[in-house]
Symmetry: C2
Subunit: 300 residues, 2 copies
């Protein structure tokens, strides 16, 4: 199925947000006529009414209101990304000591967050701005995963990902055996939303029937870990990310770890360090902290 017109979506989103075709038209520098057409076309395309037409007003249907919300967020993301990329490199941010760090959620939540107080203690004058949602593209340092398209230089490999099943220790003593990877499918598996990680990991271990008996799906790595700790099931985690929890004895890793994708966590520094002293401080601290951690890791 072809995606309906993006401009139509934008018109609909504005109309839903503003509750008025006239206002939407104004915002988009169009005539109400054009907006009205766009919306009609979109509705025809989707086969769904998005507005209920009242006396001379429009109100989104329930379905339409959720759609509009989704679109709003997406367009906002596009706007931000575009704004970030189109801005020239000039020193538009006068806050010299503000360091903007972009970080993938897993690393931030499972590893970095608990180490931030250290940094703050060492460098109290540096204002950190940390974003995990990927909503910003403007940063001084970025901690990213393999998915950044072939981004070239200025990238340092921080951590090669090494995935392993983890679960609460109590699960090992439960009634369902957990001795070989094949036993995993008889347990409750915790999925990260939209990923095929479990399936791929199981296939790599030679497990043929990769459909688990039952599962939960969450799209937040923190919650996945919390669920695992609570004994709800078995999650698939990177050894380094899970290390803190493994050491605290909240989780155990019953099987060996495997590189499931050719993946890793990279550091990418955008501006030259000279510009902002805080950037250098953070980067040095980060590398030292990782080094430190690697040395204390049980699994090499």
């Amino acid at each position: 199925m072809a995606l309906p017109s993006l401009n139509g979506m934008r018109a609909f989103e504005a109309a839903a947000r503003l509750g008025s075709i006239k206002d939407a038209a104004e915002e988009l520098h169009l005539t109400p006529s054009a907006v009205s057409r766009h919306i009609r076309a979109l509705e025809r395309n989707l086969g769904q009414d998005l507005f209920e037409r009242g006396f001379r007003q429009i109100t989104p249907t329930i379905r339409g209101s959720y759609y509009a919300r989704g679109l709003s967020e997406a367009f906002e993301a596009i706007w931000r990304a575009t704004d970030d990329v189109s801005v020239s490199d000039g020193p538009s941010h006068n806050k010299a000591q503000r360091v903007r760090v972009l970080c993938v959620p897993a690393v931030l939540n499972l590893w970095l967050a608990d180490r931030l107080p250290n940094f703050r203690r060492l460098h109290p004058s540096v204002d950190l701005e940390i974003s995990s949602s990927g909503k910003r593209a403007n940063f001084d340092l970025a901690i990213v995963d393999e998915f950044v398209y072939k981004a070239g230089p200025a990238l340092t490999l921080l951590i090669p990902l090494l995935l392993t099943p983890v679960c609460a220790p109590s699960l090992l003593e439960g009634p369902v055996p957990l001795r070989s990877p094949a036993d995993l499918v008889n347990h409750h598996l915790i999925h990260e939303c939209e990923t095929m990680r479990w399936k791929r990991w199981l296939e790599q271990e030679g497990v043929l029937d990769t459909t688990p008996k039952s599962s939960t799906t969450l799209d937040d790595c923190t919650l996945i870990m919390r669920e695992a700790i609570n004994g709800a099931g078995i999650a698939l985690a990177d050894t380094m990310m899970a290390q803190d929890l493994l050491q605290q004895g909240k989780l155990v890793a019953p099987f060996r770890a495997r590189h499931t994708y050719p993946a890793g966590i990279y550091l990418h520094q955008r501006r030259s360090i000279g510009n902002k002293p805080g950037t250098g401080l953070f980067q040095d601290w980060l590398l030292a902290e990782i080094d430190d951690h690697k040395r204390t890791m049980a699994i090499p």
Copy 2:
């Protein structure tokens, strides 16, 4: 500044993702010519090169690769939202016991997550799929905030938001006084990304100079709380969301709470309960759990 052409962005995103204009053209059912033009127009519009043109290939610039990543996510969100809204109501999901819950991150992380094991214990056969990222619009139950445009019926008010500053108890005994709201600006304030919450709250308390001495910005409510607990500064939280942490003594609320926006958390149930027994179970459990919590809350 006007947003550049969305179709141009789509062409660029596809080309960046596939690493080829030809392939992008194929995916979009266009000729390479059209895609090439789109990208050129976009680059001209942004005043930035997005690709480095090689012998007969293209590679994204660093800047371009981040832009592409941002766009990819946004378009994926649009695609999902559109897919969700255009699908007819038919029972396309045969997993009768799978309950899809959409939940705003704050509620999920600060309140719901720690109560999920209860539910699982009571109803082990119900597979929960919980999404906080707003990436899905297809759900059985949604726990949403005020931002759902005028969505009409089938909404139950779960929690009216009541915001109050919270911080680690140790901060009250620190060298910087914290006796009236006006003292707040002398402390390190923890911001939720992109919101004006702090500013509005301070204004409502009659504080004139609302610019804090120093601040941190995070876009994840879990991390905001973690930072507050670690004594890094003062966060603005809903009393109910923070209740667990207040009761555990990890946080204190030195001032009174205020309704800063006319906001609240609502429950929205899409399909009729009859269709999926699990939905009813979850809803009943949720309402009971909230009731329970309200009764034990110190601040009414």
